[in-house]
Symmetry: C2
Subunit: 240 residues, 2 copies
Amino acid sequence: MPHRALQIACSRCSLRELCMPVDISAADMERLDTLVTTRRRVKRGKPLYSRGDRFSALYAIRSGFFKTRVTASDGREQVTGFQMAGEIMGLDGIVSDEHTCDALALEDAEVCEMPYDRIESLSREVPALQTHVHKIMSREIVRDHGVMLLLGSMRAEERVASFLMNLLQRLHVRGFSEAELVLRMTREEIGSYLGLTLETVSRTFSRFADEGLIEVKHRQVRILDGAGLQTIVDSAGSRR
Amino acid sequence: MPHRALQIACSRCSLRELCMPVDISAADMERLDTLVTTRRRVKRGKPLYSRGDRFSALYAIRSGFFKTRVTASDGREQVTGFQMAGEIMGLDGIVSDEHTCDALALEDAEVCEMPYDRIESLSREVPALQTHVHKIMSREIVRDHGVMLLLGSMRAEERVASFLMNLLQRLHVRGFSEAELVLRMTREEIGSYLGLTLETVSRTFSRFADEGLIEVKHRQVRILDGAGLQTIVDSAGSRR
DNA sequence: CGTCACGTTGACTAATTTCAATAACGGTGG
DNA sequence: CCACCGTTATTGAAATTAGTCAACGTGACG
């Protein structure tokens, strides 16, 4: 057995419960270990894949941080999400056999490549994997609906607070502090994701700081009043 | 063989190419005919499913028009899409075994119910169906990204033009005119979907009419200058 | 230690919302 | 069949949010 196969066994990966089905027999787990064929390193600023690239695999993030963005025919861009360890990327490519968005590393990253044809064939043999793949795609759809709600009905303050709370919650699941985070993206990228300009994002951070909700120092954010932020997210004082 | 089984055979359905995989053997097609167990009628204004309902099936629209909407904890709503004949609904429910949005009929409608456990088991036996299901989910994700682009980076005029062109294109595929359409939803529902108020939607329609791009009479819309509308959609004069 | 990308802040502008009044339609029941 | 009522749509004027333009800091990194 080649050494690398051991290295990339999902069964021994600490992120397993984020990427893989949980209730699964030892025998099935062994089969799933053949899903990831390669690890790939992506340097900060470099694409994992780009729009138009042939689709061939899904990727599980092992370390690092990504953004995905779509581009309109006229060139304007929209960040569609920020992805972190344990999350799956590439689902957009299945429908047309080519990727429809760009995935860019916001810091040096490593991903596990899972060839799509292997996912399909293994899914037929391991029902737990089949269900799992469906759930991952469904989760992405539900997440997207949440972003639509944010973009379609929240004001700037609510969007920014929502963004922070979302990051915080996802980082917390991964064992990080609930009270502190380091932003891996620029104000412009946050703005694109939230449908705001970078100035509005910056001003909103400053206002939150003035109000004693957070402490911001560049990309270092400390949460002083999480409940207060949550109140802003849930504030019924919306416009539409 | 019960009469109803004949009635609801996908193999004889005129919408087959919209819902079902195309390149498929006669034997496989016969198996797929067992996917749809029941037809269900939904009266205008009534839900096909609601948030919190147990998830058990996907639905293919046979006739009629739906909207889906999500609701925030504070009660504000966001329309996440409008669905028409041949489109699949219910994917949001897979991840958590319960629906996360409401699906409401905008006119009397009929849907084909496909029990999810049957989809899963048949998918394992018919790879073309497996791939098809994945593509449907991926298409939904790509569609959602398009909506994010619209909500995050387009101005009101662009959103409304984009909305009209999208409806037109989908209706055209279904054999309707490219120059005329009947809106099945209110200005408020359009506004919710586009992240605008109903007044802004109304005003934008009026402006398009003033400019000779369309003719609007309540929910009857005639396209006078499709190219002009497309120019607005693609206009690079965006803000963000 | 300088340069450049990133971030902050201010003043002004423009787009969209909000509030309000009116009009038109469609379904319902007399 | 027609009148009525509630819902839906239009339009105007005022208010507000967020965007734009511009200047200035500041930190990271070579």
